[in-house]
């Protein structure tokens, strides 16, 4: 292949791997394809940890409500702006250049990767643990150094698939997702069969039995945890809608794929944990141990699917979506280099080996960023910029500097973001979960932060001088 045609192919691939707007003729995804992709991303062992965590806060009935309705409520609202991705063929981080400024977006995306991609460290860690447990059932005990090797297999296996692009991801998700859902149904059946239905249905954690106040705090924390779990999808939520044929399919793949399918697996985690506690006295969420204990040991091979392939699939889809996110800010960087950088970051977390101890605090801090960012995008897209943007300014075509604002930062967006961030911290300490303002806490810290950011951004845009500054792009809007 000549040098020029290789370059041409690289540029063409920019639409798939990068930032070039995907026009109607290049769309690839029906709803079913998008749903399978988002479901594959959602299904990973992080769900079981989340399910066990929620089970420690509320009883089973309330777990079902907070898990499903909390997630769906959050996704229905935060995912609405993804229709911009379908319409203009761009990622939300291109739109964010109008809200935060070019440098503001760079810093925001790096912060999101540092905080949120830690989930992938958890995925790799649980992948390694589950395989060690699986081999342990067959009396094969691996030396300690194999733990890191297994984690790295998950990380770089997923990264390799991500680099191959949409075609390979499509095949992976089309095969994997239905199998995972099927195995999930088997696991939930095993869970419900292992303990009396009443024991699971009437389950209430010890801490909640103490008082009504404890029960109320547990319920609010559980709802907030599921909203934060939904917010974790925010960074990569537009990567798939960018490629869908219609705005409707671009929107619904999120709530249905990540929402319904993802929460199904959180519920599986909760059922497993409760069943294991009933049978063994200990809450365990490793599907390998659970399947071997509650069913016949060969069923533990199901964990190969539940953990092994699911986690590699999640690494692949997550690496693809987050590399796309970074590409919006670092357009000169090759997609494969960005995927590799993400893999190296997760590898450092895996080698550190303590991510599971700190993941709760890290994700609470991530929620401090995601809630205000989601509010900014929602408010700007529907109420301030009213669904219109200057694409030439967003891509800095011919040196267009409209979205440069003040040294690359838009003080209007940044200021509103800060107000949302501070609001969450005022309501609750995200690390210690100390409630600071009980009245606001009942609406959940994430909702308070979202509303505060939205109000701040709307009010600032009511000031004529601020509005003129923020909407300096209006004369350049051509679509």
């Amino acid at each position: 292949m000549s040098k020029n045609s290789a370059k041409e192919r690289a540029i063409d691939q920019e639409a798939e791997f990068g930032i070039v707007p995907v026009t109607t003729k290049s769309k690839q995804y029906r709803f079913s394809d998008a749903f399978l992709f988002m479901s594959s991303y959602a299904i990973a062992t992080w769900n079981y940890s989340q399910g066990a965590y929620i089970s420690g806060l509320v009883g089973f009935k309330q777990m079902l409500i907070t898990t499903f309705f909390g997630t769906m409520l959050a996704l229905l609202i935060i995912e609405l702006p993804v229709i911009l991705a379908t319409r203009y063929g761009i990622d939300i981080w291109i739109w964010f250049k109008s809200i935060l400024g070019h440098t503001g977006v760079k810093i925001a995306t790096i912060a999101i990767v540092i905080l949120n991609f830690t989930w992938h460290g958890v995925v790799a860690e649980l992948f390694a643990s589950s395989f060690e447990n699986l081999l342990g059932l067959a009396n094969i005990h691996l030396p300690p150094f194999c733990h890191i090797i297994l984690a790295l297999i998950c990380i770089f296996g997923g990264g390799y698939i991500a680099m191959k692009g949409i075609a390979v991801l499509n095949i992976t998700t089309k095969v994997l997702t239905p199998l995972l859902i099927l195995v999930g149904c088997v696991v939930i059946y095993v869970g419900f069969s292992s303990a009396p239905i009443e024991a699971i249905w009437n389950y209430v954690p010890e801490g909640v039995k103490a008082s009504d106040a404890d029960a109320a705090i547990g319920y609010i924390l559980a709802t907030d945890a599921m909203i934060a779990y939904s917010l974790a999808w925010f960074g990569g939520m537009a990567g798939v809608p960018r490629l869908t044929y219609t705005e409707r399919s671009g929107f619904w793949c999120g709530p249905v794929g990540s929402g319904i399918v993802g929460t199904f697996f959180v519920i599986i985690g909760a059922v497993m944990a409760i069943a294991m506690q009933y049978v063994t006295g200990e809450m365990v969420t490793d599907p390998t141990i659970m399947m071997a204990t509650l069913s016949v040991p060969p069923m533990a091979l199901c964990s190969l699917l539940l953990v092994g392939f699911a986690n590699i699939g999640t690494q692949a889809t997550g690496s693809y979506l987050y590399a796309l996110m970074l590409k919006a800010s670092f357009k000169k960087a090759k997609f494969s280099v960005l995927v590799l950088a993400l893999c190296l970051y997760v590898s450092v977390l895996a080698i550190w080996g303590q991510i599971l101890d700190y993941i709760g605090a890290i994700l609470s801090l991530a929620a401090c960023m995601f809630a205000p960012l989601a509010a900014l995008l929602f408010t700007d897209f529907f109420f301030v910029r009213k669904q219109k943007i200057s694409l030439r300014a967003a891509f800095e075509i011919k040196g267009n500097k409209t979205y440069r604002y003040f040294h690359g930062f838009n003080p209007v967006g940044i200021g509103s973001l800060a107000i949302g961030f501070v609001t969450l911290l005022l309501v609750m300490d995200p690390v210690t979960q100390e409630v600071r303002i009980p009245f606001l806490f009942q609406f959940t810290p994430c909702v308070c932060s979202f509303v505060a950011t939205m109000a701040a951004y709307l009010l600032l845009n009511c000031i004529p001088a601020v509005r003129r500054y923020n909407l300096r792009d209006r004369k350049e809007v051509t679509i």
Partner: protein, 56 residues
Amino acid sequence: MSEQEKSLEEKVEDAISEMEAPDYVFPKRFTRTDYIIVAVCAVICAAALIAGAYIA
């Protein structure tokens, strides 16, 4: 600006120009009905969450 960056910028400009063309067909839009469905679903979810707080 490198040659690759120039080519990339041209590609982006081509895509934008394509979208600006009067005969460009955008992906089918989210309709008013879609927004109403989303709003109704959101209200149901919020109501369920509030009701759930009173379940023992």
